[in-house]
Symmetry: C2
Subunit: 696 residues, 2 copies
């Protein structure tokens, strides 16, 4: 018996072995994650695991009986989980390691979290987001389906996670990146020392002797500290191999710390990780810290996708279920990717001693378990902009627990470390030409400036470019339609897909092509409405609204028509309008206009497949000299790589973050005007798009 | 079942619940502390506690049966402990909290660890160190007595710990100490802040806002870092009480850290501890950090006394039983004293936020659990001289776990932080006059110098001055003979005791008086041998050697003669000779002589009762103008107090430590010469003692 951790006046016999705390009956039955279990992320579903009562001792039977549970088996992953009856399939999926996409965070609005029920008892709400064909095949939306008994559910073929292309990889990219770093200066440095043994005439303490050796080896010892653990073992370690030692020193921003002293001075391989922590996908590079070689690279979908597509949904989810849950999700993804990337190397995880993480402000807050609540509330305040150097063990990253972790600083709630990282890589902030830097994803982040000044803003582009909120929208994965042209005579489209497979949907670049072509061929007008006769074979009603058939069922991977609806067009127009308005207003704030811009740098995964000409034709990008545009790939991971190897770049990142002036659009009336004007194709002001011809 | 932590190839069912590790049968029966239990200090006696098997589950019965145990009850403390049969009573006593003195560290050589067996089975070796009277009264030496069955043992009246006088206390001392500190600058500072709420125009991160507030409040934020835990709660905490917060910042030597942020900005009382960690006794001051008032003070015997009187024996013990055991002993003493000192105050331990500890090099190493082995091996190297600021929770001190702990730096293995602390207090290193600073205890530490230079050395005075190795020697506790004069006619002594009680023994100042008087009255000659006829009523054979009866049995607390033997005289002569030789050689190293010394400062508990005139007459102190001598009390605790309150003094302490030149006497041939010359009373060279007249 013990006192309830939440109600000290109550005696209880429920003891959680994981936490070694007592909880009263009310608390263990309560589903509020803040109350019933602070270790929830590591406990598959609440306190009840597969065995019904694992994690609890005491009157466990009683608990198990009172809360009825059922088991859900997910195919083809064969992941099983036990949940209280009444949970949704989305809840169950979130408790496992399977990849499920829930753009709208379980509101039943996006139709992405499709599952096929193979057997079992359930209740599901009807939804227009599933076609009749799908319903016949036992498709359900996971968020609308309640578990009533043991269930076997299958992830449909079209939803199965495909390997993402790792942007910026390959020998050329590696060579290019290496060229940026002239001197390798990690945060955690191993100094290999051979010290003079003490004598009566040279009787300084062991620690002073070590410091002397470190100084001689070029280590700045003026602000060096050392922990109790190292001091305790120092005398023995230093004598073990005749005064040959290896000292691992963590160089922090304003001080250094001797983390470890080992006997012997043969240097072992030291690895580093550069991590791009995206809202959608995460990229991990494993780097040899001796020479900067990228030894391997992996990427995967951020498991947080089960809690919505965009950062706002993630924050909402964190407020509901606790930050720890979201933290655990991205951490699991990162650790899985590290595991994959390390798989081919013959090195232990403990050799990973340096880590740099580049992500937007919400992603870094969630990863570190920092309250993100006020990021989405006016006046939009992040808890932390500039992070101290942390240790991997404290965060939970699969590396040497003492590994140093540098988090890219982010100047504002909606302009984060990924953008700072991008600047580090592109380097335009060191040069004269006036540059517009764009990273378009769910959020469109923009930086304008040069070596003298930097202004930045974020416009809520929405998830359309990444496939969110679009009936057949998807990311640039295998089977995604990525290039489209339409025969102006027959109005029949031609397209190519990623991996040359049967089409499964359409990704951002495909949509831009499609709208550009529909506009050019007169299928739609500048207002985004269909002009095509409703009896044309490519015209079809979809849930009561007009749509263009991109491919007929028989030629698709799912035996269903791939259509693009007026709602889809509208979503895309809203997105491109927001981005374009962002450019305009930022220039306006700097009392400038498009003609003064010397170059436009596009980065991010989305930009990779973007056709500049077509992006201009729909008014997403400004109508400037095409030579001014360049695409620089995943600049976030590139900057992370540079900061991993160079102390100068880490310092520069902090300087960039501190020197940016953030313009908030949410309270900017000019932005609303510009936005409204940009809701035409390409724009209400056609003078701004002299090179664009809109078809009949 | 699990794998043995020491032998991974062995499966075992013995699981220690404290450590959550498995151990094989061999390991749990093995008595080597490094093997069987790394948590030994918190486990009363090995892994077997009072209940026989507590701390272990598995086949515990078997263990309990195979290792036969017995219970020892110590009176009058009523402390009980279960030990394996065959353990010595000293082993058992060391496992409890009772105070037992074992000057020789259990070798059966000092005769200090006396106990009276009231009942029970035991085996004991015969020893000449117990008188027949004592043997009749069932006295045994704890170190020579093996437990064979349950035992009740009593601590003899004369060995019961008496309250030590707390040197340097009282209102005057407090007032004087306060005067030294002009500005209070703790290490851990609580900043009370009222911040401006964020707006769209002032949207810096919460952490930046906090830093801004701290800067405004005068905190140096240039090297400020913050931990993950604080960052995680920051957003909520700052908003909880309308942007009123209290931030606790730890100012380290070269950087600062925000340790805690709490909502609300009402400042609470903050306490500090100044601790003098002596080999023999420990003194604790509780200080109000707001104004420097000493709220309470306590002192007690260092529990490590059970492992020997001097630092060498402590190190030997640490090598045998593990540093953790010795660390635990001094930590227990300190924590008991903190408990006592806090008893009268209505404050929680968590209010203790700053701590300064001043002790010799061995004491600080042992307290912190740092390997002390090489301190006693040529070339006598401490592991650490200058300690970083530590946290109370990491050391185990009963205070706020985040409390900052400053350890006084010590320049050498045998000149430690207590001496640096003494200099800080006496301040002679800031002044012109050439000063000889002496702290005589078990070791005699000497500093010579002034504002321009400092030389230091240590001479092994041995434990005689503190009562060690002297038949009736004791510390200056109640019942100790502290002043002696001898009637030159009758040769009958007159004396006074501490507390005016029946005599129990003789302390250092009493011995110096006694030898001085015996020399003056011609009872002994300058060679330390008795000249008195053997039929004189005060002359008595003791274990076959001549001795002088200081008091007859009927007038003592123990009904036994208090005698002073030739061996005792010899011990004292060796001690005083070492100290005097130390003075001579140190001056010689500086190419100086006694005539150039402007003043002699004596500190330490021993000096308190010292009669300068008599100390000169036996050649302990040099024969200089008596006005040059001054006694400055417990300068170690005084310096600790000053460093607790002032950052300048903490910096000064490090400077003092770094600026001292240490002279090693062990390899100094001049020292041996001087030592030999000083083994006469007062000295072979009587020209150096013109004012001393030796009697017939």
């Amino acid at each position: 018996m013990g006192k309830c951790v939440n109600h000290p006046d109550r005696e209880t016999s429920y003891l959680c072995m994981k936490q070694n705390i007592y909880m009263c009956e009310e608390c263990i039955k309560c589903r509020d994650p803040e109350i019933y279990c602070k270790y929830r992320p590591s406990c598959p579903i609440n306190f009840i695991s597969k065995k019904g009562v694992e994690g609890w001792i005491g009157e466990e039977k009683k608990v198990a009986e009172e809360i009825e549970t059922a088991t859900v088996l997910f195919e083809p992953d064969k992941k099983e989980i036990t949940v209280p009856k009444g949970s949704t399939l989305l809840d169950a999926a979130r408790g496992t390691d399977i990849h499920i996409n829930a753009s709208c965070n379980g509101k039943g609005a996006c139709g992405k979290c499709k599952l096929i029920i193979e057997s079992g008892q359930f209740e599901t709400d009807d939804t227009p987001l599933l076609s009749d064909t799908e319903k016949e095949k036992n498709y359900v939306l996971a968020c609308l389906t309640k578990v009533k008994g043991d269930i076997t559910a299958k992830i449909p073929e079209e939803s199965i996670e495909k390997q993402l292309k790792v942007a910026g990889m390959g020998e050329d990219a590696t060579k290019k990146l290496k060229g940026f770093v002239t001197e390798i200066e990690p945060m955690l440095v191993n100094y290999s020392l051979e010290l003079n043994p003490p004598t009566l005439d040279d009787s300084v303490s062991d620690l002073d002797r070590l410091n002397r050796g470190l100084k001689k080896a070029g280590c700045d010892v003026s602000r060096l500290s050392v922990g109790l653990k190292v001091m305790r073992q120092l005398a023995a370690t230093m004598r073990e191999d005749g005064w040959k030692v290896t000292a691992s020193v963590l160089h922090k921003k304003c001080s250094s710390e001797v983390l470890r002293v080992a006997s012997g001075n043969g240097l072992k391989r030291s690895l580093g990780l550069a991590i791009d922590l995206g809202t959608t996908s995460i990229v991990v590079y494993v780097v040899d810290m001796a020479d900067g070689t990228i030894l391997s690279a992996t990427s995967g979908h951020n498991r947080q996708a089960a809690c919505g597509d965009d950062v706002i949904n993630r924050i909402v989810c964190a407020e509901k279920d606790g930050v720890k849950k979201l933290s655990g999700m991205s951490l699991r993804t990162i650790n899985n990717l590290i595991g994959e990337a390390m798989g081919g190397l013959e090195d232990d995880f403990k050799k990973i001693e340096n880590v740099v993480i580049s992500g937007n402000t919400t992603m870094t807050h969630l990863l570190l378990g920092i309250e993100p609540k006020y990021i989405r509330r006016e006046p939009y305040i992040p808890a932390v902009s500039e992070f101290p150097i942390l240790k991997a063990g404290n965060i939970g990253i699969k590396a040497n627990p003492a590994a140093a972790v540098f988090i890219m600083p982010g100047p504002a709630s909606y302009v984060g470390g990924d953008i700072v990282s991008g600047l580090l890589y592109t380097g335009f902030h060191r040069e004269e030409p006036l540059t517009l830097f764009i990273d378009v994803g769910t959020n469109g982040e923009i930086v304008l400036g040069n070596k003298d000044w930097l202004m930045t803003a974020s416009c809520s582009a929405g998830p359309a470019f990444e496939g969110g909120g679009i009936r057949w929208g998807m990311r640039a994965e295998e089977g995604a339609i990525e290039k489209v042209s339409i025969n102006p005579e027959t109005l029949v489209p031609e397209f190519s897909t990623v991996g040359d497979l049967l089409p499964r949907g359409i990704c951002g670049s495909g949509m831009i092509d499609l709208i550009s072509e529909m506009l050019k061929t007169g299928i739609i007008g500048p207002n985004g409405k269909f002009k095509l006769e409703s009896d044309h074979p490519r015209m079809k009603k979809y849930n009561g609204e007009g749509s263009y058939v991109l491919e007929f069922a028989k030629n698709t991977a799912m035996d269903e028509d791939i259509v693009f609806t007026e709602t889809d067009i509208n979503s895309l127009v809203l997105s491109k309008g927001a981005v374009y308005a962002g450019f305009s207003v930022l220039l306006n704030e700097a009392s400038m206009d498009f003609s003064m811009v010397d170059r436009i740098i596009i980065t991010g995964g989305f930009g990779q497949y973007l056709d500049i000409e077509r992006a201009i034709s729909i008014g997403l990008l400004p109508d400037l000299d095409r030579d001014k545009f360049s695409y620089l790939g995943n600049s976030s991971i590139a900057g992370a790589y540079m900061a991993l190897l160079s102390n100068d770049y880490r310092k520069e990142a902090i300087e960039i973050s501190n020197s940016m002036t953030y313009i908030d659009f949410s309270s900017n009336s000019k932005f609303m005007d510009e936005f409204t004007s940009a809701l035409f194709l390409p724009h209400t002001n056609m003078d701004a798009f002299p090179s664009v011809k809109v078809g009949e």
